[in-house]
């Protein structure tokens, strides 16, 4: 039984199953991000991009059959008391260290690119052309090919070795299982690397911890690539995001921060007002500390919301108070995010 989903469930707070699924597969809508923030699982965004609804439903059914979780109204899930005891008796043996970098890259793409890049270097070091490269998308293969054409000199092998020594040492200082997991997941000359089952078997992890560690490792590689300039880091860098926001979202955010109104931004950027609002709500969830809340939440609106909405934010029911219900909902959600993030802190 894969107990991965237990970590994302709570005893006190029933959580929407689809939100959990959308967070894991990185389906970034404002609603998903909002609920992820309220559940405190934002850092798990994109942690299982490979999983699909069928698979996660199957895992959930198994947990349900074992009495560890229960499905309550509105397709929500919560831990049972048995589930809580199970977690206390068998706590996760791997705690992620790099999940705060959740926004940095699509780890699925980055890790495959990293693996193929290393494989090419490893086979190159043995002067071997007769090998099967890891099968990734054509566009990704082309990226690795042009990277190799650029870096492929006699120095490359030594440089990659120096780079990986540095990475492995940093990983080792965090958790000694990480460099072992990485070196054994590498594909290279005479090595196909561990499958997930083999990784779990060798590191004595259950499959849930194995999946968590693998994603953590991919995030660590991305964070390392962001801070260094070795050949493999240069291969990964183009895949890294500069901020948790998408470039378009970031532009909206900067324009509003410089004093423009939502309507002005929408006109200048030829976007719908609703899109600009979504950009701002996303920024409020992902980068709350950078937001000028006073600018976005006019004092009168804030006073109204202070008076009418109290208690746990997830239980608030929206009701429009002016002629523009879309604008009302934007303020309501923004206020919810603000209050929610203060509560979470």
């Amino acid at each position: 039984m894969n107990t991965y989903l237990l970590r994302l469930c709570s005893y006190r707070q029933p959580r929407r199953i689809r939100v959990i699924e959308n967070v894991l597969t990185s389906h970034r809508t404002v609603a998903n991000l909002f609920w992820a923030q309220q559940y405190g699982i934002l850092e798990w965004l994109g942690a299982r991009r490979q999983a699909n609804q069928d698979q996660l439903d199957f895992e959930l059914r198994e947990l349900q059959a074992a009495g560890l979780v229960e499905v309550v109204a509105d397709n929500q899930v919560k831990l049972t008391t048995t589930g809580v005891s199970f977690q206390e008796e068998q706590p996760p043996v791997y705690e992620p260290a790099f999940y705060s970098w959740y926004w940095l890259a699509n780890t699925k793409v980055a890790f495959l690119r990293f693996l193929l890049g290393f494989q090419v270097v490893s086979e190159f070091s043995y002067h071997n052309r007769h090998y099967v490269p890891l099968n990734i998308s054509f566009a990704e293969q082309q990226q690795v090919k042009s990277w190799f054409n650029h870096f492929g000199s006699d120095h490359l092998v030594g440089d990659v070795n120096a780079e990986l020594q540095l990475l492995m040492n940093s990983l080792e200082s965090e958790d000694e299982r990480l460099p072992l997991a990485l070196v054994n997941q590498l594909i290279g000359h005479g090595q196909t690397g561990w499958t997930l089952d083999q990784l779990c078997n060798h590191l004595q992890l259950n499959v849930a911890d194995g999946i968590t560690l693998t994603h953590d490792l991919a995030l660590a590689i991305c964070a390392f690539s962001r801070a260094t300039n070795g050949p493999l880091a240069c291969l990964i860098k183009p895949l890294l995001s500069a901020t948790p926001l998408s470039p378009s979202n970031w532009r909206t955010f900067k324009m509003v921060s410089s004093g423009r109104t939502i309507t002005e931004v929408a006109r200048q950027r030829r976007l719908k007002v609703s899109t600009v609002r979504e950009h701002l709500l996303t920024a409020a969830i992902l980068m709350p500390q950078l937001l000028n809340w006073d600018q976005l939440l006019p004092i009168k609106v804030r006073q109204y919301l202070d008076q009418n909405y109290q208690g746990p934010v997830t239980e608030w029911q929206f009701a429009s108070w002016s002629a523009d219900s879309n604008a009302d909902f934007f303020y309501f959600r923004l206020y919810q995010i603000l209050q929610g993030s203060q509560t979470n802190e």
Partner: protein
């Protein structure tokens, strides 16, 4: 083209001294510019039939293949041979545009029939002077044409648009009726084609089947089989979930190195499992039929089917992955009551109501209303099939599918020789041989039928990460940043 030149390429590019039966005749026919239908048994070296001529012909070879996994296996095989001028057309958008811009550099181009229905792809191929068109698994033209893969029906038109290149039709299993159908669908007459047929029989594969009372009994029998039969094996399942669950169960209940394999797994996992199986680090694979369509492992000793395949054509294809090295191997079919229901579900296509079909045809409703198979029906709408034509075509196909499944069931329950049954099915005459099937030798499992197990390669353990990294990068332990054998080459 003289034989000496052909043998030279065989040695130079493939490392072989001799051809297998039927290979040279096929290659000579192709090099003489003749369209050829080659029906060679599984494991008969069919990929060589288009790969070798590619090195003697000026232009690239286009290989039409039904499954991505099959194409990927062929691409991997070429890479392993050191051939880099390989292009597998897949995906859309930017990927496809990039691929098409590199067509002129390719020696081998792989594509699915669906992709070849795209006008942009066809135009790009028209600019590339193809030397050979190969239709791999050509029985799909007949087997899957009217229902499952309608784009196969467009290959006739495609061939014409590509200026009627010399065409190689390849298959391992084709009854005389299917052979005739293949030619008709590609728009060739028997007179325009050289047909090279070798027996479907694989004498080194022992045939067995077990009828079991329940799924529990089936599971127990499977465990007994995989722990008794020596060597590498594949167990085929009808679903991904069962393949995964049974792999886990077999790992827990045996000492075997077992892995599940199916198309829903992450690509790196699939890569690792396939390579580990090739390197004998894994002994047993629990797979769906996606695994090993063209796997380049010649010492698979047994293939077990945990579910009833939908036809003998499929069954013979799948068991044909065993014993490519010519050594004794075995194919076992496990059958429990009710298995045929599952197979029936997999082969049934529900037609939409006539009114709905016509509404979509007239643009009055979205094609999605036609149900889960809407893309399939959409093909027929785009090609102006009336509902009655569709009914007729599907009706014929449905009865053919039912008949094929019935034959498969009969095979599972036979009380007479299984090999003779298969040969008769494919219109071949009977053969006499030892180590034939479980009907002749009911106690076969207790006999040392198969050659002993090869040593399983156990990957190095307890190696420090830095040592392992140095090995992967071929570095001298003393001097970290130098090649150890750069100067030795």
């Amino acid at each position: 083209m003289n034989d000496a030149k052909i043998y030279e390429v065989l040695k130079q590019h493939f490392g072989y001294e001799h051809f297998r039966d039927g290979q040279l005749a096929t290659i000579k026919a192709l090099l003489a510019g003749k369209n050829t239908l080659a029906i060679l048994p599984t494991g008969g070296g069919k990929s060589l039939l288009y790969q070798l001529p590619a090195y003697l012909l000026p232009g690239p070879v286009l290989v039409v293949s039904p499954l991505i996994s099959l194409m990927q296996d062929q691409v991997d095989r070429l890479h392993r041979n050191g051939e880099k001028r390989v292009l597998m057309l897949s995906g859309g958008g930017q990927d496809r545009r990039q691929q098409l811009s590199q067509l002129s550099q390719a020696k081998f181009i792989f594509a699915s029939p669906e992709l070849l229905a795209n006008p942009e792809v066809v135009r790009a191929l028209q600019r590339t002077k193809l030397s050979l068109l190969t239709i791999d698994e050509a029985h799909c033209i007949s087997q899957w044409g009217p229902d499952f893969r309608p784009e196969y029906l467009l290959l006739k038109q495609l061939r014409h648009e590509l200026d009627d290149p010399v065409t190689l039709l390849l298959t391992a299993t084709a009854t005389p009726r299917v052979r005739h159908d293949i030619l008709t669908k590609v728009g060739l007459s028997a007179e325009q084609v050289v047909t090279i047929v070798r027996s479907v029989n694989r004498p080194n594969i022992f045939l067995a089947a077990s009828e079991l009372a329940s799924s529990d009994e089936k599971q127990t029998t499977l465990l007994k089989l995989v722990t008794t039969l020596p060597g590498a094996g594949i167990v085929y399942f009808a679903s991904r979930r069962l393949a995964t669950q049974m792999a886990e169960w077999l790992r827990e209940n045996s000492t075997l190195a077992v892995a599940a394999y199916h198309a829903g797994m992450p690509s790196a996992e699939r890569f690792r499992i396939q390579q580990q199986f090739m390197d004998n680090q894994l002994q047993l694979i629990c797979a769906t039929s996606a695994f090993g369509m063209g796997i380049d492992k010649d010492d698979i000793r047994f293939v077990i089917h945990y579910h009833l395949p939908t036809s003998l054509e499929n069954y013979v294809q799948e068991i044909g992955r065993a014993g490519r090295d010519g050594q004794q191997s075995a194919a076992v079919l496990l059958y429990a009551p009710g298995d045929e229901q599952l197979a029936r579900q997999l082969t049934t296509t529900e037609l939409p109501p006539a009114g709905l079909y016509q509404k979509v045809q007239q643009g009055q409703a979205d094609r999605r209303v036609l149900g889960p198979d809407y893309e399939l029906f959409d093909f027929y709408i785009r090609h102006h099939y009336s509902i009655s034509q569709l009914r007729e075509s599907f009706g014929k196909r449905q009865s053919q599918v039912a008949w094929q499944l019935h034959q498969m069931q009969k095979y599972a329950s036979l009380t007479s020789c299984r090999r003779q049954f298969i040969l008769a099915y494919f219109g071949e005459s009977t053969v006499e041989q030892t180590d034939c099937c479980d009907i002749d030798e009911p106690g076969w499992l207790s006999k040392p039928l198969l050659p002993p197990r090869k040593t399983t390669v156990v990957p190095k353990k307890n190696e420090r990460w830095d040592t392992q990294l140095q090995r992967l990068l071929n570095l001298d332990k003393e001097s970290n940043f130098h090649f150890s054998n750069l100067d030795k080459q």
